[in-house]
Subunit: 222 residues, 2 copies
Amino acid sequence: MRIALLGGTGDIGQGLALRFAHDTDHEVLIGSRDPEKARDAVESYTDELEDRGVDASVKGFGNEMAADRADVVILSVPPYHVGDTVEAVEDVLDSETILVTPAVGMQGDEDGLHYHPPGTGSVTELVAERAPDEVPVVGAFHNLAAHALSDLDNDLDLDTLLVANDDDAKETVRNLANEIDGLRALDVGPLANAAEVESVTPLVINIAKYNEDLHDVGVKFH
Amino acid sequence: MRIALLGGTGDIGQGLALRFAHDTDHEVLIGSRDPEKARDAVESYTDELEDRGVDASVKGFGNEMAADRADVVILSVPPYHVGDTVEAVEDVLDSETILVTPAVGMQGDEDGLHYHPPGTGSVTELVAERAPDEVPVVGAFHNLAAHALSDLDNDLDLDTLLVANDDDAKETVRNLANEIDGLRALDVGPLANAAEVESVTPLVINIAKYNEDLHDVGVKFH
C-alpha cells in the first residue's frame, strides 16, 4: 500500500513516516507544499533508516502529487492548515483514497492547553465536511507524541483511537496502525465521537506539564 | 481521616467506599438524601468487607451529617444533582473540608456518549462556583469505571487525574487516591484544565461500546 504523509516534514509526519518505513513494507510518500523540502526530509529519514539497516521506500513530492499516488493520505499538518491542504489535494482524491486526519484544535494559556474544536465539533469532522463526499475520512493518530514516534529507539506501548463512518476504510487504517510495533488501534465508532478522542491530545500535554516524571505522554486503555 | 461519600449508595460511591474501606485505614461515611438508604448500603458494604476479613469503619448518615463529620467530602452523585447536593451541605463545609467532585456531564445518542459540560466549562468548575469560596475543590476520580472499583477481586492498574487550584488540598487527595491499591493519581493542574479530564469519561464508555474485548475501560498514561 502507498501511504502519503502530507505535511510529512513536520513533527508528527516525521514520526509516522519513520515508523511506517521501519516497521512495515508499505511505500511511504512524504508530501510538502514545497517538494524540495519533502525531498530533504526524505534524505534525512532515509539516512536514519539506513543506519538501522532498513532499506525502506520513502519518496518526496509536492502534497498534490503525493496524494495522487497514495491509497491512504494522512493529513499530518497543523489544524489551521487542514482546510487549505484538503482543498489543495481534493481533485486527486476519490472513493478509493482514504483520507486520515490526526490534527486537533487547541489553545494554550498559563494553565495549560485546552481543547478548542472548530464549529463542526471536531477537526476530524471538519475534514469530512471539506473533503469530496465520496472520499472516506478516518480520524486516527491524534494522541501520539511526535517525539515518542520519531525516536525509533523508543519501544511504543500505546493506543491510537479510530473514528470513521466508513467501516471498510476504518478497518484498513486499523490494520495499518496495528502494523506499527507497539501500537494498538481501538475503535471509537463514527466521526460524531471524534471530539472526545481529540480532547486527549491537550490532556496528555497537560499531564506532561504537571508530572515531572512523565514526558511525551501517551495512553493505554484497558 | 474521615471521607464522606455523598450519594454513596450509587455506583461510583459504592466502588470508592469499598476501595477506601478495604485498602486504607480511613473512616468511610456513606451519605444519602435518605439516611435509611445510607445505612442499608453500609450494611451491604460491611458484609462484603467482612467476607474478606476486613473489619472496616463504614457508617451511614444523611448527606449533611456525613459532610459535617468529614475531612474530605466526595460528591459521588450524578451531574444533575451536583448543584443541589452542594447547596444541601454548604452550611457544614468550611476551609478545613476538601470537596471532591468526580461527576461528568454527558449526553448519549445512537453513536455513543458525548461530553456535555455546563456553561462554567466543566462540572468540576461548576462545583467550585457553587461551593462557598473558602472551601477547596478538587476534581478527581472522574474516569474510573464503577464496576471495576466495586469488584474487589479486580486488581486495578489505573490512573486518576487531579485538578485543583489549592495545592494542599490537591496533595491530600493525591495521597488518598494513591492509597487505593493499583490506583495512581496524576496532576493535571488547575480547575481550568478540568474539561479535558472530564472528556475521558464518555471516551472510555465509547471505547467499551465499540471494542468487544474491553469492558469497564480505564486508562493509564505513560
